[in-house]
């Protein structure tokens, strides 16, 4: 060790030296740049790609997959939105159809009802008319019968020429005979 230090001291005197580490040798800037920049390019060309490539590829693949997933997600969302819109459209359409059908049915029913009422009215009126006619005919018949009977009774009265008491008895008998005959 002692020898080493002695040798050091001697070489210090013999070789040209800087003396202290605080002297700045501007020539070294040049060398540092040459060495470092050469190292930078050589590493960039021959060393880093082989080491980093696999990782970079993996990173890019993952990035691409993420982007794909994102795109698919957006597409799925769009499709869902469209489906919802279609479904809503279909529902509205169905509702419109039902409403329309209901309106038509209602109208039809009212028409049918009106027709039925009209027919009923007609039937009723015809019946009334027929009843009136029948009654009129019956009344006419009755009248004619009454006239005939009165005429018959009157003729009987005239024929018999009876007194007041006898006339009365005669009419009563006649009437009761009518009743009996029916």
């Amino acid at each position: 060790m002692t020898l080493a230090l002695l040798a050091l001291q001697e070489s210090h005197d013999a070789g040209e030296s800087f003396g202290t580490p605080f002297t700045v040798n501007f020539g070294l800037f040049f060398w540092t740049w040459v060495v470092f920049i050469a190292l930078f390019f050589v590493l960039k060309k021959f060393a880093w790609p082989a080491i980093v490539q696999a990782t970079e590829e993996r990173e890019h693949r993952i990035k691409r997959q993420l982007e794909d997933a994102e795109k698919m997600n957006t597409e799925a969302k769009d499709a869902l939105e469209e489906h919802k819109k279609l479904l809503a459209g279909a529902k509205a359409e169905a509702r419109a159809l039902v409403t329309e059908a209901k309106t038509i049915a209602q109208k039809e029913r009212e028409q049918l009802l009106a027709k039925a009422r009209e027919e009923q009215q007609q039937v009723l009126e015809r019946a009334k008319r027929e009843i009136h006619a029948e009654r009129d005919a019956a009344v006419a018949d009755l009248r004619r019968e009454a006239v005939d009977l009165s005429l018959a009774a009157a003729s009987k009265l005239v024929e018999e020429n009876l007194d007041d008491k006898a006339n009365r008895k005669l009419v009563t008998e006649y009437l009761s005979s009518l009743e009996r005959n029916g």
Partner: protein, 286 residues
């Protein structure tokens, strides 16, 4: 006693300083002579490769071969569809940590991938340089202010030029003349102009701090270790206690060495992390 002639301070400074020589004492020393200076106007440059240049080249070569071999092994493993294992897998995890958790986590996903190679190269180059300084006969190029300064300038360029390209000239000028919320009209212009020197200073301080932090940490560690060794020489003449002093000092140095190993990793991490953070801040400046 020859020990008394040893000037510990001198040894410490000499050993941490750059040199035009490689020390393999006590075996041998390789030394060479300076090239003549080059003058650019008032600037004097000397491009002679130094000890730290040699160690930078060594560090860069080692980084390259580690990563290259790792890549080759990983490709072979993937081709045969074997489960990843061994050294290559450990290095892959390490590289991916730097890429994902230092670069991309702090810069952002899109720009992060663009700047990751720079941050990764910075991290591993600094780490290897730091660790080389802990080896016997080794020297940490990152314990040289010129080296850390040059690296910090590269970071500065990446931060500012990257910001200029991302934000455009108008957006970039906003980082120097900031828009102050709540003020409008002449007041806003005055405040903007007043803030400009502070903003510019802020831009310059970042790389300066990066350079000085790395240099300081690496140099200080070596100072501590060498100073502790110095204790042996200062007190080695105590005939009874010299063994005890030697053992205690060696124990302390082992402890500091372990700490230095951690610091070597930590400082590479800090340099890369701060560079990534500053790039990220600049990229997302609005």
């Amino acid at each position: 006693m020859i020990q008394e002639r040893v000037d510990v301070g001198q040894v410490v400074l000499h050993h941490t300083a750059d040199a035009y020589a490689l020390d393999f004492e006590p075996l041998f020393t390789i030394s060479w002579h300076r090239w003549p200076d080059i003058h650019f106007g008032t600037l004097t440059l000397n491009l002679t490769p130094t000890k730290h240049v040699v160690f930078m080249v060594l560090a860069a070569t080692l980084v390259f071969f580690t990563m290259w071999l790792t890549g080759k092994q990983l490709e072979r493993q993937r081709a045969s569809e074997n489960a990843p294992k061994g050294f290559a897998n450990a290095m892959e995890a390490f590289v991916l940590f730097v890429r994902d958790d230092i670069a991309i986590a702090n810069i952002g996903h899109e720009e992060g991938e663009k700047y990751a190679p720079f941050v990764m190269a910075l991290f591993f180059f600094i780490l290897y340089s730091n660790v080389l300084g802990l080896l016997p006969w080794g020297s940490a190029a990152t314990g040289n202010l010129a080296v850390t300064g040059a690296l910090a300038i590269l970071s500065f360029v990446a931060i500012e030029v990257g910001g200029l390209m991302k934000l455009g000239v108008g957006g970039y000028m906003r980082t120097i003349f900031p828009k102050i919320p709540g003020i409008s009209g002449a007041g806003a212009v005055a405040m903007s102009l007043a803030m400009a020197p502070i903003e510019v200073l802020g831009k310059l301080v970042k790389p300066f701090a990066l350079a000085v932090r790395l240099f300081g940490n690496m140099t200080a560690g070596h100072f501590v270790i060498l100073s502790l060794f110095g204790i042996i020489f200062l007190f080695g003449h105590l005939q009874v206690w010299n063994w005890a002093i030697g053992i205690v000092t060696a124990g302390l140095v082992v402890g500091i060495m372990l700490l230095e190993l951690f610091v070597a990793l930590l400082q590479a991490y800090v340099f890369a992390l701060l560079t990534a953070t500053f790039i990220g801040m600049m990229q997302h400046e609005h």
